[in-house]
Each structure stands twice: as structure tokens, then as C-alpha cells.
């Protein structure tokens, strides 16, 4: 996307500079009728339509793949935001709770049910997925999946007042064994 954008930018700039510093004999594009055809129809309408159709379709295709669909070994966790902390809950009856650290199994799709108890926040773990807002009264579901076990940084990404900068959390992705241990210890 960046390369294409740069190419378009330099193309437009080249057209402008060519216009400013070209020899004074009027070219084909100079006359009004053909000028309209080239500039308005060709470059003004045709060019962006083609590029944008491709880009939009691609974006929507990717977007569809990121949606929280049904999956065989899906894990669901709850993320509850408040000024300026996160509480995560796990298990069938949400009996296990952790503050500030979200535990997930690696290599399995995870649905995060995001909500808030006070103002609007946003759940964002840049390396795992895009962001999704935590809105009081609403539950938004975000699909994340960590390929490998490890620790991932997360943060709130919607301005929430004084403590916004410190409103961060971490995601701990476990391998199968330690995920089982985590669930077992939590239920005790």
C-alpha cells in the first residue's frame, strides 16, 4: 500500500512539474475537448476507480478473515476495562480473574469479549490484532490468536482522561501444558 501510494504521489508531482517546465508549444492535452477526456475522464475518474476498487475489495477480504467466526477449539475470555485498569475473566462461569495480565493459549483462536464499566476504552494488542473499543453497556468481540507462546504488550487506545498513558496490560500466551495449569490453578 505504501509503495503504491508513493508511486501515485510521485506520478502526480511529475505531472505538475512537467506542466510547469514544459516547452511552450501546446500539446494534445492542451485543447479543451481532448483535455477533458484525458484529465477528467482518464486521470480524474478512471484512475482512482480502478485502484480503489482493488484496494477496497482486498481490504474487505482481509477484514472478513479477521472476524470472530465459529472455530473448533475456540477459547473465550472476558476483558473488562475501567479507569485505568483491566480485569480479565476466564472459564465457563468466568470464575477465574486476573488483573492487568491476559492469559491465553498459544496457537488457538481466542475471542475476547470486551466491555467497560465507566468510560470508553479500547483493547489493543498491536502484534495480535487491531483495536476494538470497550464501551459501557456493549460487549464487542475481538478475535486474537498468538502463534507462539510468549508475552505481548497491550494498551488502551481510546483517550480516557488523566491515567490514559499508564492504561496498559500484557498478554501471556501459554503453551498447551501451562494453559492447562493456569486454568487448574485458577479454579482452586
Amino acid at each position: 500500500m505504501l509503495t503504491c501510494a508513493l508511486a501515485i504521489f510521485f506520478f502526480v508531482m511529475a505531472l505538475i512539474f512537467a506542466a510547469l517546465y514544459r516547452p511552450p508549444n501546446p500539446s494534445v492535452c492542451g485543447r479543451n475537448e481532448s483535455g477533458t477526456r484525458v484529465w477528467i475522464w482518464g486521470l480524474g475518474v478512471g484512475f482512482p476507480l480502478v485502484t480503489l476498487a482493488a484496494l477496497t475489495a482486498y481490504g474487505l477480504f482481509i477484514g472478513e478473515r479477521l472476524l470472530p467466526r465459529e472455530a473448533p477449539d475456540l477459547v473465550t475470555v472476558q476483558a473488562q476495562a475501567r479507569q485505568w485498569a483491566w480485569t480479565f475473566r476466564y472459564g465457563e462461569d468466568r470464575a477465574i480473574a486476573t488483573d492487568g495480565v491476559l492469559h491465553i493459549p498459544a496457537g488457538r483462536p481466542v475471542n475476547v469479549e470486551i466491555t467497560s464499566t465507566d468510560v470508553i476504552h479500547s483493547f489493543w494488542v498491536p502484534r495480535l490484532a487491531g483495536k476494538l473499543d470497550a464501551i459501557p453497556g456493549h460487549v464487542n468481540v475481538l478475535r486474537i490468536e498468538a502463534a507462539l507462546p510468549g508475552t505481548y504488550g497491550g494498551q488502551s487506545a481510546e483517550f480516557s482522561g488523566r491515567g490514559y498513558r499508564e492504561h496498559v496490560f500484557t498478554v501471556e500466551a501459554h503453551d498447551a501444558a501451562s494453559w492447562a495449569t493456569f486454568l487448574a490453578e485458577g479454579t482452586q
Binding site: I16, L20, T36, P48, V119, I120, G130, R162
Partner: protein
């Protein structure tokens, strides 16, 4: 004063006409003249100076932000202060600088471009100016007292609700900004009526200068985009003040309602800011390229479609709020689609450059700065329209950089070009000191260094609105570079302002039309005299000065329409909307302190609630109505003049003796804004009903038969009354029985509305009850307005201000009554239907 100075012609006639007109149109030369003038030159200049001052204030705030972000773990500001600073930077730049600045430019230039003598409603323009000055100053003073809002310039509740933002910061924002929006709506109405009706003879729609098209489109956008925001502010303010729970989930509200209302305004706002600048480019660039605009009609079509498309984009600011993917996809597709009309404009301009022979010069330089910057802003905008990409960079510095590319590149740079281009016209002087080039080369490169760094920081994950960052986050170098370059940019902007100021006051006198432009604003004397044109030009093409190089002379000699000052009043021409045929002669009001006084009481009614002075606010509101009536009473006349000589053998009626005087047109467009406001309220109601978590309420309002009957009867009477009154006045008969019928009708409708409130006491209980009160309040307000107008009409008839010819006022009252009936019935139906079917 530079007078037309043709070599061989006798000057006597032009000079006599100039002196006579100058006397008629002069503003008071004493200090009080500042407060009583309504001339577009005076109002526009004041507007421009005040808007520039706010730009300076906003710029200082920006420098404070960059100073804070220059180094990691900065101790320069605390988060509480930083939050106020960035909120105010956005607010000041968007509301106090960007919109008023182009309004100022249009007030200064539009009458000249259109070939008329002043704006359509000079006093309304003055009123808008003063409301803006008071509202803007109040917001700034609050900031200096440390009471500024600190929730970000889009003020999302619940963060901006009373529970999380106690204190008056948020109220300052809501009330101050709303008063400025009222001012913008006043100006927009003035611009629309001016463009549609006040033009040179023969200036059909296809011959209008391109800027007039752009500013017409923008003004209609203001009328349709600001009302949702005004409604949002109203809802949030009553929630804060009276606890009506529109955004509180537990009582049936929903914070997402605010986001919808805000971005319904906020996205079109971006184009409201960009399009006037685009209009300036489309005006300036062809002249600098010594040719005409390529594809004029295409550019007009692109501007109109861009304007309408921009209303279908608001959700793209809400991609991360959990809206289903199909909903996002609609807005993603629409967001990429707006790139098409934008690109039509861009390529039309580049094609114009190819068609002509470009010359450089400071205006052109700034336009090149626009291209280099805006194209990047547009491309990053397309990136942001792609949903998955947006999910990552939303609320990071990438978005910050994108919007600065669009707004500074797409608005500030072209507006500086416009200032330099029109300086000979506005000040009568040609640039002499060449500080401007230095300033340009300081601003544009450092702008790119600053905001390319900010783009990068955003891609590396720096969130916007965080007051500082850690040294190990990897953003230190980028931020330092951005800060240093931003200071260079600030110096460049300061030099630009200095350059303009110095040249405006001390540079050498210039000659008329230095750029060789073809449009009418260059056909008058420079600097433009108060009366604009000595006579209303007659045009046969899009570029009248190219068609007739001696046009300026003919105008100055009074050879156009109304080139006769013997009636000693401020007259100008009204033409037919599409074809520009002369239709009416309108008499514009003279100097008056009324607009200033009305602005004082209006601002008082807005600002008094900040200090819980509700009684003062109520009294001020009464004073608003009283002064408005005094204002209206002073217009019009008691005798029929019949047709007057407009020159060229045309005998035209006075506007006050027509069925569609400018006031009627103004009312139509004010009611458009009012209708959009009402529509937004219905949208909010439907939105809460559909998605708010704690719905349905415990019970729905059960309609009572008597109230329904009263409402229907009242509606019938209020429809019939004004119609019969118009007919009676047209026939010279007695109008008061019909007017009384109308008043009774409006009172009946008001009673029906009151019954809704009485049946559901306690609007603070549930968002449903609060919405019912607002619906009923809408009906109540409009029925009271209708009743006041009808009483006023009765008084006017009794005092002899109405006649079969002077019937325009009655038509205006009829218009308002019809609107009251239509929206009143819809509002009551919306209140009653859920209960009737539940």
C-alpha cells in the same frame, strides 16, 4: 482611493457617482462605527483579523504540545494540563479558526465576484461576527483560567459526562462551540441567499465564478452538518445540567449516540473546511496559468457530489466501535469513493496547468505546497478507509499526521495563497517586502519533516493524546525531529503573518487587476469601496473582464443597472436563480447597533448557564426575542412604491413588494437547518430504540384521545390561519380573524405537546422520557415562535406595513407555521405511536 482613470473619457460622471454612493454606503467613522457597521468589507476584515488571532492562539497551543512531546518522560506539563492543551488546540483550530476564516474570505470577496454591492443580509453578517467573537473569547478566557475542557476535541461521553468531567470545562466547550455554530449557520444562510439571488445581471448559474459554486455547496453543507452537532451538544448539556440520561447506559442511553451525532457533523466538517480552499485554488490557479479552468462543469459536479458523499462517511471514524463488518464495509466503500471527485478536481487543476502557461509567484508557490501536501494526505486517507489497516492505526499518531496533512495542506496553504492573491484587491497595495518567499521555504519543508515523523511514530505505535512516553519505546528521535521542525514551521507561519501585515499597511499602491483575472471582483476600484460597484455589471460570459476589458469603466460610469444614486438608499439587484435575469430591487439596511446588541444578549443566554445563572439566561432569551422583533420592525415600508427605475429601461419591483423577498429565501434555508436538527432528533430516538442496551423502557406513553384531537385540530387551524391571512391581505381585506385562528391553532398544538410532558413527568428517569420531553419541547418552541410571529404579523397589518403588494412578511409567517405543523405532527406521532402499538 484609486479611481478609474481612462485617458480620454470625461471623469465627471464616475466621480460624482462615486461620491454619492460613498456617502450612502459609508459606515460611521467614529469608534462606534466598529459596532454599527454591517458593510461586508468591515465585517469581513474584522472576521479575518479575529480568525487569524485564533490561529495564532491555536498555533501557540500546538507549540506547547510539541514542546511536551520533544523528549521522553517530559516534566514540562502534567497530564491534566496537557489534556486541556490538546483539546483546546483541536477546538480552536477547527471551530475558531478554520470555519470563520473562510467565512471572512467569502464575506470580503463574494459580493465582488458576484457583481453585487453587499451580502444579502448585512445585519445578519454583523450578528454572526459578534456572536463568534463573544463565544470564541469565552472559550479562550476559560482556558486561561484553567477551566478548559480536557476530554479531547470530540468530547466522547461518558468521559465528558458530569460523572467523569465535573467542573465547567465541558460546559464551556458545549455552550461556546454551539454559539459559534449558530454564528456559522447565520453566515451560511447569508451566503446561500447571496449566491442564489444577488448577482450581476445576466450571471446565470453557468457563468458564476467557480468560488461561488464551492461556497454555495459549503454553506448548504453547514446547514445540514451543524444541526446534528448542535443537537448532540444540547443532549450532552442537558444530561450534564439536568441529568437527562441520553448517554447513560443504565438509564436507557447509549454513548455511541454521541459518536454518531458528532461524526455526522465531523466528517462533512472536513469537507466544509477543504472545499472553500479548493474553490480558492480553482479561482487562482487558472489565472496564474494564464488560462481558464479546465472542465468547469465537471468541477462543479465534483464539488456537489463530494459534498453529498461526505455525509455518507461518518461511520469511518467509528470503525473500532464494534459495528458489524457489513456496516463498516458500506462506509469503507463510500470512503474510497470520495477520492474520485477529489481526484477529478486535482486532475482538472493539473490539466489547467498543462493547458496554460504557468507563472510562479507567491500564490502559485503556496498552491504547489498544497499539491505536494494534500496528495499525500489524500493517499493516507484512502489507507485509513481500509478497515483492517484502520483497526491498527486508529487513535495513533498516524491519524494525527494524516489529518494535519489534509487540513494544513488542504486548507491553510491554499488560504495563504488566497490571501496573497487577493491582497491587491483587499488592501489596494502590491506586495513590496519579500519576506513571504522565505516564510514559504521555512513552512513547507519543515511541515513535511514534522508530520512525516509523526506518521512514522504512529506506525510504530505511539498513541495520540498520551502526555509523554518512555525513552525505551523507540520514538525519541522521531519526536525530537518533529518538534524541532514544528518550531521552524511556526517561525515560518509567524513570518507569513508578519509579511501580510506589513505589506497590508505600508506597501506601495498597486494597479487594478494585477494578475489579469477575468472575474468581476477585479472590475471595481481597489481597495474595494463600501458600495462595491458604482453600478451593477451586465455580464455575458464566465469571464466578463476578458470579454470586455473596459468593463470597469462602464461600471464606474454607472452604465450597468442601478447606476443612479438619487434615491439615496442602499440598493442592489436581485436576479433569477438559474438565469440571472434582473427581477427585483432590494434596499439593504443601513448602519445599526442592533446586531451587536442582539449578539450580546444571545451570547449571554448561552454563557450564563455556565455560572448556573439560569434566570439571567432566561431574561437574555426574552431580550433576544424582543430585540429580534425590534430589528424586524425597522424593515419594510408603509407605502407601496410600485416599480422603480433600475436603469436600462427596466422597471423592477422592490423586494419588499414581492412574494419572495430575501427574507423568505433566508427562512427556507434556516428551516432546512431546523429540519435537519429535528431529523437528527428522530434519528437519535430511533437509534436508542434499536440499539441502546436498557430498552424498552418500563412502559410506553399511552396517547390520550383528547390530546390527539386537540393536536389535529390545532394543526388544521395553524395550517389554515396563515393561508387565509395571506389571502385576506392580498385582497386588502381584514386579516385579524385568520391570524387569530392561526394563533389559537398554535396554542392547541402547544397544549398537545404539553400533555406529553405532563403524562411523563421525570425526564431524568429514562432516555425514553428525556427524548419525549425533547420532542415535545421542539413542538412547544415552534408553536410559541409561530404564535409570536402571528402576533407580530397582526401588529404589522394594524400599523400599515402590509398591503396586497407588501405581502412577503405574511408569506414568511406562513412558511414557519407550515414547518411547525409538519414537524409538530411528526414529533407527536413519534411520541405516541410506540405506546399505541405496544
Amino acid at each position: 482611493m484609486t479611481l478609474p482613470s481612462p485617458a480620454s473619457q470625461p471623469r465627471g460622471k464616475a466621480l460624482r457617482l462615486h461620491l454619492a454612493l460613498a456617502r450612502i454606503w459609508a459606515s460611521d467613522q467614529r469608534i462606534r462605527g466598529w459596532f454599527t457597521s454591517s458593510n461586508n468589507n468591515d465585517i469581513g476584515s474584522l472576521f479575518l483579523i479575529v480568525a487569524t488571532s485564533f490561529f495564532v492562539i491555536g498555533g501557540i497551543l500546538a507549540m506547547l504540545i510539541r514542546a511536551q512531546l520533544a523528549t521522553p518522560d517530559s516534566a514540562f506539563m502534567e497530564p491534566q494540563v496537557y489534556n486541556q492543551i490538546f483539546t483546546m488546540h483541536g477546538t480552536v483550530m477547527m471551530f475558531l479558526f478554520a470555519i470563520p476564516f473562510f467565512e471572512a474570505m467569502s464575506m470580503l470577496l463574494l459580493p465582488g465576484m458576484l457583481g453585487t454591492r453587499d451580502m444579502a443580509f448585512p445585519r445578519l453578517g454583523a450578528y454572526g461576527l459578534w456572536v463568534y467573537i463573544f463565544g470564541g473569547s469565552a472559550v479562550i478566557i476559560a482556558m486561561l483560567m484553567g477551566l478548559a475542557p480536557d476530554g479531547g476535541w470530540f468530547m466522547y461521553p461518558p468521559l465528558s459526562s458530569a460523572a467523569f468531567s465535573p467542573g465547567i470545562g465541558a460546559d464551556v466547550w458545549l455552550l461556546g462551540i454551539t454559539s459559534i455554530e449558530v454564528s456559522a449557520i447565520a453566515t451560511a444562510i447569508e451566503v446561500i441567499v447571496t449566491v442564489l439571488r444577488y448577482r450581476a445581471a445576466g450571471m446565470s448559474l453557468s457563468r458564476m465564478p467557480i468560488f461561488a459554486w464551492y461556497i454555495l455547496v459549503v454553506s448548504v453543507m453547514i446547514l445540514t452538518a451543524f444541526p446534528p452537532m448542535i443537537l448532540g451538544s444540547l443532549l450532552l448539556e442537558v444530561e450534564r445540567a439536568l441529568n437527562w440520561p441520553f448517554f447513560q447506559v443504565e438509564n436507557g442511553g447509549d454513548p455511541l449516540l454521541w459518536q454518531h451525532l458528532f461524526w455526522l457533523f465531523g466528517h462533512p466538517e472536513v469537507y466544509i473546511i477543504f472545499l472553500p480552499a479548493a474553490g480558492m485554488i480553482a479561482t487562482i490557479l487558472p489565472v496564474m496559468a494564464r488560462t481558464n479552468l479546465l472542465g468547469y462543469g465537471w468541477v462543479v459536479a465534483a464539488a456537489v457530489s463530494l459534498a453529498v458523499l461526505s455525509f455518507g462517511l461518518w461511520v469511518h471514524h467509528m470503525f473500532t466501535t464494534g459495528i458489524p463488518h457489513m456496516g463498516l464495509a458500506f462506509f469503507s466503500a463510500a470512503s474510497t469513493l470520495v477520492a474520485v471527485p477529489t481526484s477529478v478536481m486535482i486532475f482538472s487543476w493539473i490539466g489547467t496547468l498543462w493547458k496554460g502557461r504557468a507563472r510562479m509567484g507567491l500564490p502559485m508557490l503556496w498552491i504547489m505546497g498544497f499539491f505536494a501536501t494534500f496528495v499525500i494526505g489524500g493517499l493516507t486517507g484512502v489507507m485509513l478507509a481500509v478497515v483492517p489497516f484502520n483497526w491498527q492505526v486508529h487513535d495513533t499518531h498516524f491519524v494525527v499526521a494524516h489529518l494535519h496533512y489534509v487540513l494544513i495542506g488542504g486548507y491553510v496553504f491554499p488560504m495563504i495563497a488566497a490571501i496573497y492573491y487577493f491582497m491587491p484587491l483587499l488592501t489596494g497595495r502590491t506586495r513590496f517586502f519579500k519576506l513571504g518567499e522565505v516564510a514559504f521555504w521555512l513552512v513547507v519543508p519543515s511541515f513535511h519533516i514534522t508530520f512525516l515523523s509523526v506518521h512514522m511514530a504512529g506506525l510504530l505505535g505511539q498513541r495520540r493524546r498520551t502526555w509523554t512516553y518512555d525513552a525505551d519505546q523507540g520514538w525519541t528521535a522521531l519526536n525530537l525531529v518533529a518538534s524541532i521542525a514544528s518550531f521552524v514551521m511556526a517561525i515560518g507561519f509567524a513570518l507569513t503573518i508578519l509579511d501580510v501585515a506589513v505589506n497590508a499597511f505600508v506597501a506601495v499602491r498597486g494597479r487594478r487587476n494585477p494578475w489579469g483575472a477575468g472575474t468581476l471582483e477585479w472590475a471595481g476600484a481597489i481597495p474595494s469601496p463600501a458600495y462595491g460597484f458604482a453600478s451593477i455589471p451586465i455580464v455575458q460570459g464566465r469571464y466578463p473582464l476578458h470579454d470586455d476589458p473596459d468593463l470597469a469603466l462602464h461600471i464606474a460610469r454607472g452604465e450597468g443597472y442601478l447606476g443612479d444614486a438619487s434615491r439615496i438608499r442602499r440598493e442592489t439587484l436581485i436576479v433569477s436563480t438559474a438565469r440571472g435575469e434582473p427581477l427585483q430591487v432590494v434596499v439593504l439596511p443601513g448602519n445599526s447597533v442592533l446586531p451587536f446588541l442582539l449578539a450580546v444578549v444571545t451570547s449571554t443566554s448561552f454563557l450564563a448557564p455556565l455560572f448556573d445563572a439560569y434566570i439571567v439566561a432566561g431574561l437574555a432569551l426574552v431580550a433576544v426575542v424582543a430585540l429580534a422583533l425590534v430589528w424586524a420592525w425597522g424593515l419594510g415600508g408603509r407605502v407601496d412604491e410600485g416599480h422603480v427605475d433600475a436603469g436600462h429601461g427596466a422597471m423592477l419591483p422592490l423586494a419588499s413588494e414581492c412574494r419572495d423577498p430575501p427574507g423568505w429565501w433566508g427562512s427556507v434555508f434556516l428551516l432546512l437547518a431546523d429540519g435537519v436538527h429535528f431529523g437528527s432528533l428522530l434519528f437519535g430516538y430511533a437509534f436508542l430504540w434499536t440499539v441502546a442496551p436498557n430498552w424498552p423502557p418500563h412502559s410506553y406513553l399511552q396517547p390520550q384521545l383528547w390530546a390527539v384531537i386537540v393536536a389535529l385540530t390545532g394543526a388544521l387551524a395553524l395550517t389554515a390561519g396563515p393561508r387565509l391571512a395571506v389571502r385576506a391581505i392580498a385582497k386588502g381585506g381584514t386579516a385579524w380573524p385568520a391570524i387569530t385562528l392561526g394563533i389559537v391553532g398554535s396554542l392547541a398544538l402547544a397544549i398537545a405537546a404539553a400533555s406529553v410532558m405532563l403524562d411523563r413527568p421525570g425526564p431524568a428517569r429514562h432516555a425514553y422520557d428525556a427524548t419525549l420531553w425533547l420532542l415535545a419541547g421542539h413542538v412547544g418552541l415552534h408553536t410559541i415562535l409561530s404564535a409570536i410571529m402571528l402576533c407580530y404579523l397582526a401588529a404589522r397589518v394594524a400599523a400599515g406595513y402590509a398591503s396586497p403588494a407588501r405581502i412577503g412578511e405574511a408569506g414568511i409567517v406562513k412558511l414557519w407555521a407550515d414547518f411547525t405543523v409538519a414537524t409538530g405532527l411528526v414529533a407527536l406521532a413519534a411520541a405516541w405511536l410506540p405506546g399505541a402499538f405496544a
